[in-house]
Symmetry: C2
Subunit: 187 residues, 2 copies
């Protein structure tokens, strides 16, 4: 019927995701996205609607990437040891391609305010809740713990994870490892 697209949306969004990951939402401009994604502004807008659309799609893309780690954790049967491994794996994940990018989700949560876009806030909340549920699932491998304890420990681990994400942007590996060891000291 008409001309064909010269790019794949699932390919260019990966590049957009990496740009947002490195620079944050506000700092990443349409101009930068244009250059990094390798397509014209017109194409970006026709594929993703607007900047927010590109970002929301980038969040989905990030989630897929992180899911490899999450799935490893899900299938782990080592209880707390598996969780600890997830924390270590996460450090490598954040340092995979570049130093000090942190976690896209945490970075965004730290960047936006209360009056931020609802869809973005929802995506972040949902992401956090999903991870917490996996934590709970692993913690329940220990049948001796009651639900209240599990809930408390899951909350603690989620916040610790949140802190770790921020910390990867600033502290060195020795300090980060030391942090993880202290978190899991009494288990």
């Amino acid at each position: 019927m008409a001309r064909k697209k010269e790019y794949l949306e699932e390919e260019v969004i990966v590049k957009a995701m990496n740009l947002f990951w490195r620079n944050g939402y506000e700092t990443t401009s349409m101009q930068m996205l244009e250059k990094e994604m390798g397509i014209n502004k017109f194409s970006i807008y026709s594929s993703f609607g607007n900047k927010k659309g590109v970002f929301l799609e980038s969040l989905k893309c990030y989630k897929q990437k992180l899911n490899k780690l999450i799935n490893q954790l899900k299938t782990s049967e080592n209880g707390i040891a598996g969780l600890k491994q997830y924390f270590y794996d996460f450090i490598e994940f954040t340092k995979e391609t570049e130093f000090g990018k942190g976690c896209l989700i945490t970075n965004t949560a730290n960047e936006i305010g209360e009056d931020a876009d609802e869809k973005i806030k929802d995506a972040l909340t949902k992401f956090t809740d999903d991870v917490k549920q996996v934590f709970i699932q692993i913690l329940k491998q220990d049948k001796t713990k009651d639900n209240a304890t599990i809930e408390q420990q899951a909350d603690f681990l989620i916040i610790s994870m949140f802190g770790l994400s921020s910390a990867t942007r600033i502290f060195n590996k020795i300090q980060l490892y030391n942090y993880i060891e202290n978190i899991f000291k009494n288990n």
Copy 2:
């Protein structure tokens, strides 16, 4: 010799600091600063040079504010218990006037990248180091600990503090208290 200033720099900078604290560095515009500080752009520029100047002065101002907590910790002789109290006090500090502002230092550290302004990065690093030194001083109250242990624990506490600051923007008090209790569990 000439006309007198109609404002006090130490007064208007407090207002600027609160604005940066609420909105972050980039999001806070000169227009917003003008309105919040109650003085004209010309006056802002003649008093502080530029936006960065206003921010650096705001950081000093924040440090003074936080010093009340730090000094309480410094004079504490309760060892770990004093540190734990500092963590609790810090939560109240971040929620003093408004919900979910976090910590200006941590917020800034999370916002800026590696290529950010050197003076700002230096100010943040110095701030963190100073707090760590106070942590070390308190930890040394326990004479049985060797220097390596103290260094490790101080690093752990600094990163935990960093995580707590971020967490205050998102998690509720029960979760935060639970986080602190878990941090200090084995002491």
